[in-house]
């Protein structure tokens, strides 16, 4: 696992990949963010949702659904934002690049309504900063969300 040397207080989590474990971790991250005095419920909900989407992607795509593989999460509450870094040892994103997150569809085209593909769209549109890199054989995804109000 790359040494990210987080600055300041940072909660660290390590879990084994499974959809249940990542659901629990996303809930835990949401709870942690919600404990910040003056935290805004909508902002915390978005962090929880986007962390859940990113973690689901790790299980489904980086690890091809395999259970028992490591996932690391660093959660920091900075002066002005939440910062979540997710690390896994699975497959890299295609071309080592994040998807564009476009999820366009025609609501009148019933047969072709999308049954997926919203994860990256939500992450890229609802977080204030998203960065991905492949480092030392790991995927490192950083999500940042500014405090509101």
């Amino acid at each position: 696992m790359p040494n990210l040397q987080p600055q300041g207080d940072c909660a660290r989590f390590t879990i084994q990949s499974s959809f249940q474990n990542v659901a629990d971790l996303a809930e835990e991250v949401g709870k942690l963010c919600g404990e910040r005095p003056g935290s805004d419920v909508d902002t915390v909900d978005l962090v929880r949702l986007c962390v859940a989407e990113a973690l689901n992607n790790i299980v489904e795509h980086a690890y091809d659904g395999a259970e028992g593989r490591p996932i690391f999460a660093n959660v920091a509450i900075r002066d002005d934002r939440y910062e979540v870094v997710l690390i896994d040892e699975g497959k890299p994103l295609p071309d080592n690049t994040m998807p564009d997150g476009k999820a366009d569809f025609d609501p009148d085209d019933f047969e072709n309504l999308p049954e997926g593909g919203f994860g990256w769209m939500l992450i890229l549109t609802q977080m204030d900063a998203v960065a991905y890199e492949r480092r030392e054989g790991c995927n490192v995804l950083r999500l940042e969300k500014m405090f509101q109000g």
């Binding site: 659901a23 909508d42 999308p114 609802q126």
Partner: protein, 119 residues
């Protein structure tokens, strides 16, 4: 058990039992819902009141069930908490689902007697 079903005569209410409709439960929920839908019934209402969190996997499951019902049957939603409404707005799902405030409103909208009275 990931869902319960209520038969209201003119409509069925399908209600998730878990507080999360996400990747951890969506496969089982989908399988049980598909079994239920296979038994027939023209109007299906999903009461999402017990659900406090939905992710793209849960949304995708609902879209799959909507498509399974096809154009000839009704598959509608109700009881959505503000958090869920927000996610539906972000994903533009509010454009493809008919969404009611609660079960009573959803059933009322499909009650043959009510519709006769209203007309």
């Amino acid at each position: 058990m990931y869902l319960t079903i209520e038969d209201h005569g003119h409509a069925h209410v399908l209600r998730p039992t878990k507080a999360r409709l996400d990747a951890a439960v969506s496969t089982e929920f989908r399988n049980q819902a598909r079994e239920a839908l296979a038994k027939g019934g023209d109007v299906w209402i999903v009461d999402l009141a017990p659900v406090s969190f939905i992710d793209s996997s849960g949304i995708g499951t609902l879209v799959g069930l909507l498509k399974l019902c096809g154009r000839d049957r009704r598959f509608e939603l109700c009881g959505m908490a503000p958090t869920l409404q927000h996610v539906f707005k972000l994903t533009r799902m509010e454009m493809i689902f008919r969404i009611h405030a609660n079960v009573a409103a959803a059933l009322g909208a499909h009650d043959p007697a009510h519709r006769l009275t209203a007309s």
